[in-house]
Structures are given as structure tokens and as C-alpha cells.
């Protein structure tokens, strides 16, 4: 009796595990379907390769220029503006019925462009100061 019940339990555990595995397989499948052309994998590939490129490029930056590095990376990370432009860009059918997305997009455009203009200009100002010894 005891043995049987344990066996039964074991069976149910394996069933649960099986179900779990099946479910996660389903999830992965839906993930793949959602990114129909397998784009997640290609985006992920780009992501990992870019980290490697970043790693080798940044180690080559001279420590004297670490401050300009911070401000220029700040400026280029504002390329996030491309997402804001898409949100702020759709045609308004009725001015009284503005989609919240458009407002969010507009705010993001303002924020990102402060960063783009400010970031590149401050970097330029900094870099202009670095001079070689006059011999």
C-alpha cells in the first residue's frame, strides 16, 4: 500500500515535470512565433557581438579621455530618440483625442534631444581643451 502510494506520487511528480517542460517548450515556441522571422535570435546575436566590440574598443580608450568618453556615450545612448520619433509621428485624426502614446513620445523627443545636443556639445568643448605641448 505504502509503496504503491509513493509510486503514485512519483508518477505525479514526473507528470508535473513533464507538463512543466511541455509548457516551457510551448513558451519558447510562442516566443519564436511572436518574433516570426526568428528576429529575437538575430537581435540577440547583434547584442552579444556589440558587447564584445564595446569591450575591445573601450579598453583602448586612454584614461585621460575617460570624462569625454562618459559624455559621448551619454550622447549616443540618446539614439533612443528613434523610439520616441515613432511614437510622436503618427497622424492625429482628431486633436481632442490625442493618444497618450503621442504625448509620451513627444516628452521623450524633448528629453533625448536635450541629451543629444548637450552631450555632443559638452564633449566637443572638452576635447577642444586637450592640447599638446608647444615645443
Amino acid at each position: 500500500m505504502v509503496l504503491e502510494s509513493t509510486l503514485g506520487q512519483e508518477k505525479s511528480v514526473t507528470e508535473i515535470l513533464k507538463n512543466g517542460a511541455q509548457q516551457s517548450a510551448n513558451l519558447i515556441e510562442t516566443t519564436a512565433i511572436a518574433n516570426s522571422d526568428g528576429s529575437f535570435i538575430s537581435m540577440f546575436t547583434i547584442f552579444i557581438l556589440a558587447i564584445f566590440v564595446g569591450y575591445y574598443v573601450i579598453w583602448n580608450v586612454t584614461p585621460a579621455l575617460h570624462s569625454p568618453l562618459m559624455s559621448v556615450t551619454n550622447a549616443i545612448s540618446s539614439v533612443i530618440i528613434v523610439g520616441a520619433l515613432i511614437a510622436a509621428g503618427p497622424k492625429e485624426i482628431d486633436i481632442t483625442d490625442v493618444n497618450p502614446a503621442k504625448i509620451f513620445g513627444f516628452v521623450a523627443v524633448v528629453l533625448a534631444s536635450i541629451n543629444i545636443f548637450g552631450g555632443f556639445m559638452v564633449t566637443q568643448r572638452m576635447l577642444q581643451m586637450y592640447k599638446k605641448k608647444v615645443r
Partner: protein, 462 residues
């Protein structure tokens, strides 16, 4: 514009961004690098504007003009000494922009081709939540860093019991919320995630003290990159992913360099509290002799030297002494004295802070050397002139295993024939550690404001 064409354009923009960072490997190529960055940005924006999903330009133009004008004014007016705050403020903007872009995508996913409102496919929802959470965290974290650097808020660590437990619990709740929103999407859940991330950003940065700011700024730099990455995945935009990964790894490497400069683990910096408890024990100040000198003494000693190494620190930035210092160095050089500058990796409040200030004062960058390059030269140096630095010169880091800064790489100023040490009083440094250098026989203390002392020495030299 066809999809393939814009994909190529984004690729070209990404290459320009990589070239921008590549340019920073030397000051000569750096200005071109910045131009590459600007070009990349123009290409990326133009490509998006030409895409079929963007049809009305009025809001965009207004936004660009407002943002551009504000950015322009800030960049022109900012003082170079306020640079760390400015960078922190800019990081907060990237974070906030990421939150807004994610929110726009949440309310109008169709515009980005990721399903409909409240029925966004799970993977996109995960990417979006991660992007918005990191963005929100970067935003408030940077605001706190800004407040500490600007002096709006005390630089001292804010510590309470159960702090780390609270952060850990909030972190777990955050993960749970992301799982829940994938299961059933709702506006409330989305904004709860944003709110919680905003709170976490504050809680993460308040325990970190002022002198750890170089690590914090680099870390927030890294976060802003990962936030951009999260958004890039949501929008399936390769340019955003590439830039995000570049910025993310750049910030991570800078954090690593800064931690190494302090001989501290990244974890211990994040947990914070460093320099919170000022050492009440072992205060030897008072019953030991200190040799104090005047500007005239300092001028005399340096005039008779043949090699001088200047060691600047955060105190120089606070006193805005870089111009007076350069004037002093110019007079010494006229006397035929070899003057160089030694920069510790964590001097100042952000990576490379001292280099920028010296460059601003027209110090040629080839006279400014890093710790590894110059440390060997101290024994053959006549005068080490320490201005506004303290802990980075403390010999206790090499000799006293009990010291809070034990193991930190330091500039071996005590090996030079004479150490001139400008300091306002005999207080301990940021780490709350006494500097035994003050009591050495070859040290002469110059008690004054850094700028005032440089000006007085200039007068004495003339």
C-alpha cells in the same frame, strides 16, 4: 523607405558610433571621433523620420527645437568643475526617455508592430518591462547622484538597518510583477513596475558616499546603456541594441577601472556605507609634530628643485585652483624645472575628472601622466606637490593592514625628497583615515586654501 534600406542605414549609423568611441583612444583623433558620433546620430534620426510609420512632423520638430535649445544652453554655460553633476543629470534624462518610450510602446504597440493595447506578445512585454524598469532606476539613481554632487544633498551615506534586505525584497517583488504583467497585462501593473523601479533607484544610491561617486557615475552610465538595449529589443532596432551594448559595456569597464583604483569590490561599493563612520579611534593628531611652511618656503624649495611632480585631487576642483596651479607650473618651467602631473585613477568625482580640469587650464596633456606611468619616478623626484588629494597618497595603504584603505594602489609621493602638502587643516581624508604622511620628516604642510596658496607661491616666485 524600404525596410532593407533602413536596416542598412541603421547599420551605417552603428558603425559611426563605434568609430566615435574608437576615436577616443588618443586626444588627436578624439575630435574626429565626436564628429563620427554626430554623423551617426543624424543618420539614425533621418532614417527613422523617413520610415513610413512617421507621417506627421509638427510635434517632432517642436520637441527637437525645445530639447536642442535647452541642451545648447546647458552645454555652453556649464563650468568644467560642474562636469560630474552634468553627466549625472544627462544620465537621468536617458533613463527617463527610456521610460517614456517604453510607455508609448505600451499604450500604442501597433505603431511598433508588437500587437495591440493590453495584448502585447510575452517576449516584447518582458523586454519592455526590463527596459522601462532599468530606465526608471537610472532616472532616480542619477537624480540622487546629481543631488549629492551638486551639494543639494549631503554626500554622506544614508544608512538604516535592514536596508539591504529591503532592497532585496523590492527586487524580488519587481521580478514577480514582471512575471504577473506577462500573465495578465494591465495599466496598473505597468505603472507599479515603473513606480517600484523609481523607488529602487533612490534606495540603491543613497547609501553610497561622495568619494565612491566615480563608480556610481560609471555604473549609471552602464545602466543607461542597458535601458537603451531593452528598448532596442522591444522595437527590434539593431542600432539601439548596438549603441546600448556599447554604452553598457563602456560604463561597466569604467566601473571596474574605478573599483580597481580603490582596491574595492564592485559589490562593496554598491552596498555602500564607505566613509560613513569617521574613525574615532587611533586619532594620533595633536601629539605629533608637523612641519608647517609658508608660500615663500614652498617657492624656495621648488625653485631649487630640478624635478617636480604635482598630484592633484578633488580639493583642487573644489577650490577651482587649476588655473593658479598652471601659472605656478609655468613659472617653474621657465626656471628650467621639469614639471609633470600625476593622476590617480579615482582622483576627483568622475573618471578622468582631473585630466579635463588640467586641460581646461591649458596644461598640455603629454605632461599629465597616469599612476602606472609615473609612480616609478617619485624616488628620483625632488618635490611632490600634493594639492587637494589625500587618501590616494596615504602610505598606510601599503603598510597598515588595519587601515580602511589598505591595498589601494597609491601614488608614492613619500619617496620623493620633499613633499609639499596643501591642506586646509589636519583633518582626515574622505575615508576617515589619518594620513601619516603629514608627520613624516620630509613633509611640509602648507595650511591654506589650494587656490590661495598657489597664488601666493606665484607671487613669491615672481
Amino acid at each position: 523607405m524600404s525596410e532593407n534600406f533602413s536596416a542598412i542605414a541603421y547599420l551605417i549609423a552603428s558603425i559611426f558610433f563605434i568609430m566615435a568611441l574608437r576615436g577616443l583612444s588618443s586626444p588627436e583623433t578624439a575630435r574626429n571621433g565626436n564628429m563620427f558620433g554626430i554623423t551617426g546620430m543624424v543618420i539614425a534620426i533621418a532614417t527613422t523620420l523617413a520610415s513610413p510609420s512617421v507621417v506627421s512632423y509638427d510635434w517632432i520638430i517642436v520637441g527637437l527645437v525645445i530639447g536642442g535649445a535647452i541642451g545648447d544652453i546647458i552645454a555652453r554655460r556649464i563650468q568644467m568643475t560642474a562636469l560630474p553633476q552634468l553627466v549625472a543629470a544627462f544620465h537621468s534624462l536617458v533613463g527617463l526617455a527610456a521610460v517614456f518610450v517604453a510607455s508609448a510602446a505600451f499604450y500604442q504597440p501597433a505603431a511598433y508592430g508588437i500587437g495591440d493595447f493590453l495584448s502585447i506578445p510575452t517576449p516584447s512585454m518582458i523586454e519592455m518591462s526590463i527596459g522601462t524598469a532599468i530606465g526608471a532606476l537610472t532616472f532616480t539613481g542619477s537624480i540622487i547622484a546629481f543631488a549629492k554632487l551638486q551639494g543639494i544633498m549631503s554626500g554622506a551615506p544614508v544608512i538604516f538597518s535592514g536596508q539591504h534586505l529591503l532592497n532585496a525584497v523590492l527586487g524580488i517583488i519587481m521580478v514577480a510583477l514582471v512575471v504577473m504583467i506577462c500573465d495578465e497585462q494591465s495599466e496598473q501593473l505597468y505603472w507599479t513596475i515603473v513606480g517600484l523601479a523609481l523607488l529602487l533607484g533612490i534606495l540603491m544610491i543613497i547609501p553610497i558616499g561622495g568619494a565612491d561617486m566615480p563608480v556610481v557615475i560609471s555604473m549609471l552610465n552602464s545602466y543607461s546603456g542597458w535601458a537603451a538595449c531593452g528598448i532596442g529589443f522591444t522595437l527590434s532596432n539593431p542600432a539601439l541594441i548596438i549603441v546600448g551594448a556599447l554604452v553598457g559595456s563602456s560604463g561597466a569597464i569604467l566601473s571596474y577601472v574605478m573599483c580597481k583604483g580603490m582596491n574595492r569590490s564592485f559589490i562593496s561599493v554598491i552596498l555602500g556605507g564607505f566613509g560613513g563612520e569617521t574613525s574615532t579611534t587611533g586619532s594620533v593628531t595633536g601629539d605629533r609634530n608637523v612641519r608647517a611652511g609658508s608660500a615663500d618656503d614652498a617657492a624656495f624649495i621648488m625653485k631649487n628643485a630640478s624635478n617636480v611632480i604635482i598630484v592633484p585631487g578633488y580639493g583642487m576642483a573644489v577650490a577651482q585652483a587649476q588655473h593658479a596651479l598652471r601659472e605656478m607650473a609655468d613659472l617653474l618651467k621657465k626656471e628650467g624645472i621639469n614639471v609633470r602631473y600625476a593622476i590617480h585613477p579615482v582622483a576627483g568625482r568622475m573618471p578622468g575628472h582631473m585630466n579635463v580640469l588640467l586641460a581646461e587650464a591649458n596644461v598640455p596633456y603629454d605632461e599629465v601622466l597616469e599612476l602606472d606611468e609615473i609612480n616609478r619616478d617619485f624616488p628620483s623626484t625632488d618635490v611632490a606637490f600634493v594639492i587637494g588629494a589625500n587618501d590616494v597618497t596615504n602610505p598606510a595603504a601599503k603598510t597598515d593592514p588595519q587601515s580602511a584603505i589598505y591595498g589601494m594602489p597609491i601614488l608614492d609621493v613619500e619617496r620623493s625628497a620633499t613633499v609639499l602638502f596643501i591642506k586646509r587643516s589636519l583633518g582626515s581624508g574622505y575615508a576617515g583615515v589619518d594620513n601619516e604622511l603629514f608627520f613624516r620628516e620630509n613633509t611640509m604642510m602648507l595650511f591654506s586654501d589650494a587656490k590661495q596658496m598657489c597664488e601666493d607661491i606665484v607671487k613669491a616666485l615672481e
